[in-house]
Structure formats: C-alpha cells, structure tokens
Symmetry: none
Subunit: 231 residues, 4 copies
C-alpha cells in the first residue's frame, strides 16, 4: 500500500499545473491550456529569462499575440504557472495525515514514519519538482513576492501538515517534544542531503529506489532518537 510515489511523474505534473488556473474542457480554453503547458515545460527547462515568448507561442502552436491576449505579459504568465502548481503541493499536504491514521497508541510509530518519510522524499525528488524549486529560487530576486508566496503555500504548508501529524502522534503518547520543531527536524533529516544534492546536480540520474528507502529509514531513526516518547 505505502508508496504511490509514481503518481507525480513528469507529464502528470505538467497537466496539473496546466489545469490549476482556470476552467478547461478543451473548448475555447484549449489554447490557454496549451500555452500554460508549453510555458511550464520551457520555464522549467530554460528558466524565465531563457524562455522567449516566441518560443512559448511556437511550442503551444499559437500566435504570439494569443499569448498576450490570455496573459497580460510574461510575468503574469509566469506567476500564474508558479502559483497554479501550489495546488499540487496543497493536495500533497492534505493527504499527509492519512499516512498515520491507522497508527494506534500501542503500535510502534517507526514503520509509519518510514513510509511517510519515503513518500515525502520521493515526491520532492521528482525531477519536475526539483526543477520547479530551482526555477523559483533562481528567480527569487526578480520575483520576491512570488517566491515567498510559493514557499508559504507549498513547502511551509507541508511542514504545517507534518506538525499536525506529530501533534496527533504526541496526543496518542507516541512522540514527545514541540510538534513544529519535530516537523522541521523530520523534514530536513529526510530531505536535506538529497534535496541539496538535487539542487546542484541537474543531469544526474534520479536516486535509485533502495537508496531513497535507506535515506528515509536512517532519517527516521535519528528523528526517533530525539522525539520518541520514552516508555
């Protein structure tokens, strides 16, 4: 049951991004969706400045002016795409608590946390997610508002969901310590090394499954040393 990590493959992410902004149904908005899809891919691959509106129009098979009719300017298109994608992160955050619903007071939390850690890490290591992160970080000084808003809506919301999870586990007598602190420590024990590596190594093959699992397990071990309630 545990790891549906593959439901965040590239294509699907792009489609979700494309749907985020407005109604679709393939009718008159087909062009708008095509633009969003094309622009998303191009921005992720080439960056904001590296992508020209000509390119976007060409890839979307649309005239340049249609791009401008739909999105006032390049900045607006960019912002709409970036904020559109947060829906994915929000969905992920909303699903997080489900990971531990079955855990009872008498159980050992470790397996549940390993599963959670694994899912979390797999999601973040998705190449598209990494590329998005790079994109936003790289444009943070050009779009400071957008960057901080993204952070608030995506990574910070996931952290809040984690804190919620840990708070409930504390209620059941399984963990101790401040839930927000726990969330941060958990998150960066799990993600830290791989995310750091992923930010700087664009062309590397994705981390193989067993390595992901090992990293998750190890992070959970250290985390529990600090936060497991002594029995």
């Amino acid at each position: 049951m545990g790891e549906p990590a593959d439901n965040t493959r590239t294509d699907e992410l792009i489609i979700r991004i494309g749907r985020g902004a407005s109604g679709d149904s393939a009718g008159p908005t087909g062009k708008r969706a095509a633009i969003v899809q094309a622009a998303t891919g191009l921005f992720l691959r080439q960056g904001y400045q590296g992508t020209s509106t000509d390119q976007i129009a060409a890839v979307a098979a649309v005239s340049k002016q249609t791009v401008y009719n739909q999105f006032r300017d390049k900045k607006t298109l960019f912002a709409e795409i970036i904020l559109g994608v947060t829906a994915t992160a929000e969905r992920f955050a909303a699903e997080l608590p489900n990971e531990i619903t079955g855990v009872r007071a008498a159980d050992d939390v470790e397996p549940a946390l390993r599963s959670l850690a694994h899912r979390y890490l797999s999601t973040v290591l998705n190449p598209q997610v990494l590329a998005l992160r790079r994109l936003i970080i790289g444009e943070a000084s050009r779009f400071p508002e957008l960057a901080s808003e993204y952070h608030r809506r995506a990574p910070a919301r996931v952290l809040a969901a984690l804190a919620d999870v840990f708070s409930r586990l504390a209620d059941r007598g399984l963990l101790t310590g401040d839930p927000s602190d726990a969330a941060e420590d958990f998150a960066f024990l799990v993600l830290g090394p791989a995310l750091d590596h992923g930010m700087f190594h664009v062309d590397d093959d994705p981390m193989p499954e067993p390595a992901v699992r090992r990293a998750a397990d190890r992070a959970v071990a250290v985390f529990l040393a600090g936060y497991r309630r002594p029995s």
Copy 2:
C-alpha cells in the same frame, strides 16, 4: 571570542571572490580584478541573464572589449567567478576542525558543537552566500557542470570536514555512529529550516542573532540525542 561570524561580511566576500581567480595585485591587471569584482556583484544581485556585459564594463569602469579580452565570453567570466568563490568555502572548511581542537575526552561535546553549529549557520545565512546559492541553483540547468563542480568543492567539502570532525570526536569516545551520516544529519538539522527559508525570502531581514543561536542549540540537542556515545 567564540564566533568570528563577522569575517564573512558582504564587502569582504566580494573582495575575496574577486581575488580568487588570478592572484595579481594592482598593476596593469587591476582591470581584470575590477571586472571580476563588478561582475560578481552584478551577477549576485541580478542573475546571469539579468546582467549585461555593458553593465559589467560600466561598473568596472572598463571598455566592453577589455572584458572580452580578459574572459573570452560571458559564460567564461561567470564560470571563473563561481569557481573563484569556492576558495572562500574551502577556507571555511579547512578552518572547521579548529573549532573542536580543544575538546578532550572527558569534556562535554555540547558547547563545542553549539559553537560550531552557530558559526556554520551564521556563515551560510550571510546574504551574499545565500545570493550565491540562489544564483548557482538558478543557473544550474544552463551550467550543469559548473553547478555540480561548485557543490563538490563547497558544500560537499564542508560536509567532509564535518565528517572528519565527528570522526575525531568518535575516536575520543565522545560520539558514535557513522561520521558521514552524522555530518549530513548535523548539517541539515542546523541549516535546514533557515536555509530553506532563506532561499525563498529575498527581502527579509537577516535572522536575528538570538534566533540563530537558539536554532543552533536546538539542532545540536537533537543531533546529540542520536549521536552522543552512551556513557
């Protein structure tokens, strides 16, 4: 005297970066240094694509052709600057072990680790360092080689230095566990939250000193729960 965090102030960093590439003093190659210094500041503030060679030449008070005489093209200049700056990180890594030189077998490691964590965090939170990180991450898909080389020489080298530190502490019977794992966990417990925040919030005021200290102390506590040798 513990934390000489201030030796990484903005101006100095730039100067160090500027000197990294070709160690000439004033002389006729002052121009080269001027170009590097100007370009470093501009790249950090405006990004690679956001900075024009006109601007660089203007800020360096040099003709545009001089820039091309010295650096073949913009990419070369950029790469040389980025790799030049790793010298700073290497120096930092080289100094890390000194932090714990005085720790004896009978001592408590906690104060030394707190000091180390604080220094580490302060260094990484320096606005210039954050800007450099953003810059390289943002250009990682345009300069993949450069990004991974930077990572290898700077953050990874610091991790190796940390691993070395922890290995020595293990030898003295103060810590347990795999030193490399310990280094990663330590690093991301310390840096994780603040670095993540710093990547996305460009305009925020820098984290105030007491908060930095608290974060460092908390990270050390969790770290030691997992890695302190049981006595």
Copy 3:
C-alpha cells in the same frame, strides 16, 4: 446677450462631432455613435497613430470587430470624424453674418466688429478646436486630401462668410477695400498671435477673458485704420 462663446464647450463639441456622420438617435446604431464619440476624444487627445483600435473599442464599450463592421478601417473612421466636425464650423460660418445684421449706415461699425472679433477668437481658442487643428495639421501628410478638404470647409468657409459680412458693410458705406482682402486681414489680425501660441503650447491655461477682449479690440483698431471708409 453679446457673446455666446460658451456654446463651444468641450463636451458639446464632441457630441456634435459624434452626431455629424450619421444622424441616428439611440436605437441599434447607438454603437456607431459611441464609437465616433470615443474615437473623437481619443484622436484629439492622442493623435491618429497614438490611438489604437483596441482603445477605441474599449472606450466605446464595443467589440473591436464592431468598429470594423461600422467603419471598414481606421482611416475611414478618422476621415469620417474629421469631416463630420466641419458641420460645426459651417454652422459657425452661417451664423457670422447675424452678428452685424443690426448695423445701420449711420452707426459706428467698431462695436459690432469688436463683438464679432471676440466671438471669433473665443471660438477658435476653444481647447477642442485647437486640438482638432493640431490633429489635422499633424496628419496632413498622411491624409493630404482630408486636410485640404477640411480647410476648404472650415476655416476657408469662415473667411468667405467674413468677406460676405464686409461686403455688406461696404455696401452700407461703412468699410472700403476688397472684401476678401479685408476678411483675411481681419481674421489674422484677430487670430494670429493667439492661434500661433495655441498651436505650440498644449498645456497652457486658456487665455483669460479680458486678454481675449483686449486682443480682439486691438485687432479691430488696426483693421479699421486700414479699412474704415473715410467719411
């Protein structure tokens, strides 16, 4: 009684212009009128090239295609507006002779001419009239036919009306000289300086009433020195 100068206020002029082309009242062709009105204001304020059909459609609250359905193209719309406005000038010319209807042979022409001069000058100094003049002059090389046609129908017709007036006054023994020459001299003595100034000073406050009156009076004095019949 004397000077109904105010019947050439801004709003009214626009409305008159708007109605000039097709005399429909509200109904389904209210759209046409709305377009004309919107375009008139925009052309006067921003010029022909400075006004886009998008803007016209937006201000008229009409779709862009509706503009094209009604007016074939931008040039046609412009021409129709310019020629529509000549109706105003023609009306003005037609009313001019009334100014001196009451003058009898024994009377002094001076008061009547002063009143005429004042009304003439006030009319021409109306900001909308000045803007229209600037507009047509500025587009004269793009629309040579239109410009000369406008001149024929508007300023030249007023000159003809003046000549008619002076001819009648000559018949009553009050003036001498060629009526056409008199009309020209009168017109440019009255209008010359203010009109010249008005063409080049867009943002200036309108000439204050007393100054208008003084200019008119002075022009009449010089005119009469040349054209009053010696008694």
Copy 4:
C-alpha cells in the same frame, strides 16, 4: 539686394539641421550626422510615429544599434533634431535688423518693409519649414515641452527681432505705436493667410513668386495704415 529667399532650400536646411547638434568634420561623427540627416527627412515626411527606427537606420545606412548608441532613444533623437533646427531660426532673427539698417529718418519706410515682408514670407513658406511646423504641431501633445521650447526659440524670437526693428524705426520717427503689437500685427498680416493655407495643403505647388510679392505688399499697406507715423 532684397530677396535672398533661395538660400533656404530644402537640402541646405537639412544640412543645417544636421550640423546643429555637435561637431562634425566627417570623421567619426559621420555616422551621427548621417543618422540626423536621415531622421530629419523621415520625420518631416512621415511624422514621428510614422517613422520607425529601422527606417532611420536603413536610410542612414547604419545599424539600428548605432542609432541607439548615438541617441539614447527615439525621443531624444527627435528632440535633438527639433532643437537643432532652431539655430536656423535664430540666425534668421539675427539678420532681420539688417534689412532696415539703411533706412534714414527722411526715407519712406515702405520699400524696406516690403522687402522685409517678402523675405519673411518666403522663408516661412519654404516647404521644409512648413513641414517642420506641421511636425511639431502634430506632436505637440506628445512633446509639449519640446513644442513650447521650439516656439520660444524660433517664431517668438523672430517676433522679438521684428519688435526690435519697429522700435528702432519708431526712434527715427517713422512708425508709431507699441513695437510688440506692431510686430505681431505685421507678422500675421504678412504670414497669416499663406501660412494657414500651407499648414493644410501639403501637396500644393509652392506659392509663385509674384503672388508672394503681392501678398507682402498688401500686408505692408495695411500695416502702415495702422502704424505709420502721421507726418
């Protein structure tokens, strides 16, 4: 003696305009001069908005960027051209008083004034001068500062020179009345009709010499009726 009207022919005016702005000598500034010359002709023929920078560069046989290297932007180029041309007007104004230097107290002013009027009218009717006037008037709402500055430097300065002339003639007992009023009345009696016609009739053949002379003579007659000192 009287009429050197032909020294203001088209080509020469353009050259003078071109020389107005900065040093030349056909050396490295040859390109700058070429740009100014090309732009002057294009602006006069097609207006500001109707002339593209591509066109300017093409006609000047220069790359587009060279245009931007020499003149920050299109507006700057336009302004420099317009203000450059005022030098011509200033020269004309400075020479005006020479027209009447030979007039003695006992002489009849009429011949001198006729000559002056003729020269004045011929100059203003030059097609290039008319085109320049149309250009500035047409762009007055886009460049209000420029338009009023031009008026101050060119037509207004000529009026001041005329006032100076009339003041000196009054000193010699030949004229009466306020010199400034006299200047205005003279100017518009002379120029009025032809200038008005010229603003709106772009393609017309230039006014034939005899007609110019007649117009000048007639204007002087009316002027003297109002301003000749009664003896």
